[in-house]
């Protein structure tokens, strides 16, 4: 491209007023595997696609618990993400020790953004190559934020980052107005549907995705594979069509069958509709 002249270090402006190193760092986020987040008034759900390099290896951890009331999902250089998660955990613990109260997620996000900004203004540093979707609670309810390598942060009702995230964003854009009053389970279902959008036809299985929830009265935790698979089965049975009218009926019928099946068989619920 034509911009190679001013991109050697982060402290050089281009004549057009851009910092190319920061923009390249944002490209790194787009290369990471898809991560999505959505929130209602009381809950926030994070989900990501977790593909292992080979059948022999385990997959990358992309969702981190930061505190009982805050969790983060990352896309991009996962090593940078791990380091930032450690910083966030440290800040939460220190605040809790001094004030015996949870650190409001809005303040943590600002601290994180300021930390990222420093790396855009020191010639001996490089920007963090990771985008973070921060889910958390504070006095005013549930929040979802996106932290950029540029040091900017934004609050979202729903968002997706990483490769093929546009497909998920389109799905979320169609439905986000209903999220505020969604139940927790509907929110998780929407998250799984959004993840499926990024898979471009590949089957959605709990072995290739991770889902985490935080909400009022529900500490941040990652859902285990079986629960996720059950939820996937609950709406997959409807087939590829996503008509909102068809879903509630199928879901209601499936839940009844799932309950009976759950007691006898720990794994997948029997699908006999």
């Amino acid at each position: 491209m034509f911009r190679n002249q001013y991109d050697t270090d982060v402290t050089t402006w281009s004549p057009a007023g851009r910092l190319f190193q920061v923009e390249y760092a944002m490209e790194a986020v787009k290369q990471g595997s898809a991560t999505i987040g959505l929130r209602s008034k009381t809950h926030v759900v994070l989900g990501c696609v977790n593909k292992a390099n080979s059948e022999l290896s385990s997959h990358q951890k992309k969702i981190f618990k930061v505190d009982d009331h805050i969790g983060v999902a990352i896309a991009g250089l996962t090593a940078d993400g791990r380091v930032l998660s450690r910083y966030m955990r440290n800040e939460c613990i220190n605040y809790n020790f001094t004030y015996e109260s949870p650190l409001p997620v809005g303040r943590l996000v600002v601290q994180l953004a300021d930390k990222a900004q420093v790396c855009t203004q020191r010639s001996w540093k490089r920007p963090y190559g990771v985008g973070l979707l921060v889910a958390g609670l504070d006095e005013s309810g549930a929040h979802l934020y996106y932290n950029c390598p540029s040091g900017n942060y934004f609050e979202y009702q729903a968002f997706a980052i990483g490769s093929r995230s546009q497909a998920a964003k389109t799905y979320l854009e169609r439905r986000f107005e209903n999220f505020a009053d969604s139940s927790r389970d509907d929110l998780v279902k929407d998250a799984l549907m959004a993840i499926r959008e990024t898979l471009q036809g590949e089957t959605l299985k709990s072995s290739i995705c991770t889902v985490a929830v935080v909400g009022v009265g529900e500490p941040f935790h990652i859902l285990d594979q079986e629960t996720v698979q059950q939820m996937i089965n609950a709406f997959e049975i409807v087939g590829e069509q996503e008509g909102p009218a068809a879903e509630p009926d199928a879901a209601a019928g499936q839940e009844a069958a799932a309950e009976q099946g759950g007691s006898t068989d720990e794994g997948v619920a029997p699908m006999d509709i």
């Binding site: 001094t98 004030y99 109260s101 809005g106 303040r107 006095e139 005013s140």
Partner: protein, 245 residues
């Protein structure tokens, strides 16, 4: 005193060379603070005396101050250390307000912050010579706690410092109950303060009662309690006394 040239800088906190920088004993002190939870929030009472040893030197010392939107702090002990604590809290609340984000430090957070400060100072053998009472209401939740100069902290429905622990708490244990009305709370506090006035030599008869509710803090104008000194036991206190004093 040490007349030899000292190798350590004056502001070093290491060792006995720097005794002049550590609190060894209090100079101007306030006596008891008493506080209780009532229906709408917290009621707190403290007199306005600042004693200089056995002299009742200062008689208009305000020993209770509002902190932020949700808390009220009362202190006994060294008055200058109380003023230092108010400066720390002022800075804390300032930074809290600068976030400008709808979150604010409530009484529980302020209480724990003070506990950390007091305990850390105690660990450095340089205590803030105070017993603090921190009360407040936030989002309908009432909070009342206390911290001492050695960092002992706890919450309760009614607390007191100094002599208040010995003279006021027993009265409160008998007569306090949930959902006291404002008038009953004040009456109960006045009963405690009157006993303290009779029996604590560093008490002065000029007190304030402060109230904190969801709506904010009100500190009353100073006033005095009516006292009765014609009890026959006061007339001849030594009558029937056994012992050498």
């Amino acid at each position: 005193m040490n007349f030899m040239a000292s190798k350590q800088p004056e502001n070093s906190l290491l060792g006995p060379e720097s005794d002049s920088q550590r609190t060894l004993y209090p100079y101007v002190t306030g006596t008891s603070v008493v506080a209780l939870k009532y229906k709408d929030g917290i009621l707190m009472a403290a007199d306005m005396g600042g004693s200089y040893g056995s002299t009742l030197r200062y008689k208009s010392v305000e020993r209770m101050k509002p902190i932020g939107k949700h808390s009220l702090l009362g202190a006994s002990g060294e008055i200058s250390d109380f003023q230092e604590i108010l400066r720390y809290l002022d800075e804390l609340i300032l930074y809290d307000n600068m976030w400008d984000d709808g979150n604010s430090l409530g009484p529980k957070e302020v209480h724990n912050y003070l506990t950390r400060v007091m305990y850390n100072r105690r660990n450095k053998f340089n205590p803030l010579w105070n017993s603090l009472v921190l009360g407040g209401v936030k989002n309908g939740q009432k909070y009342l706690g206390t911290v001492s100069m050695i960092g002992v902290n706890f919450e309760d429905n009614h607390v007191a410092t100094g002599f208040g622990n010995h003279l006021a708490r027993p009265i409160l244990r008998q007569e306090w109950h949930e959902n006291l009305s404002f008038e009953d709370g004040v009456r109960l506090l006045e009963k405690c303060m009157r006993v303290l006035l009779y029996r604590d030599r560093s008490a002065v008869n000029k007190l304030q009662i402060a109230k904190i509710t969801e709506d904010g803090v009100t500190i009353s104008q100073p006033y005095s309690l009516k006292t009765y000194w014609e009890f026959s036991a006061f007339e001849n206190p030594a009558q029937g006394a056994i012992g050498s004093w």
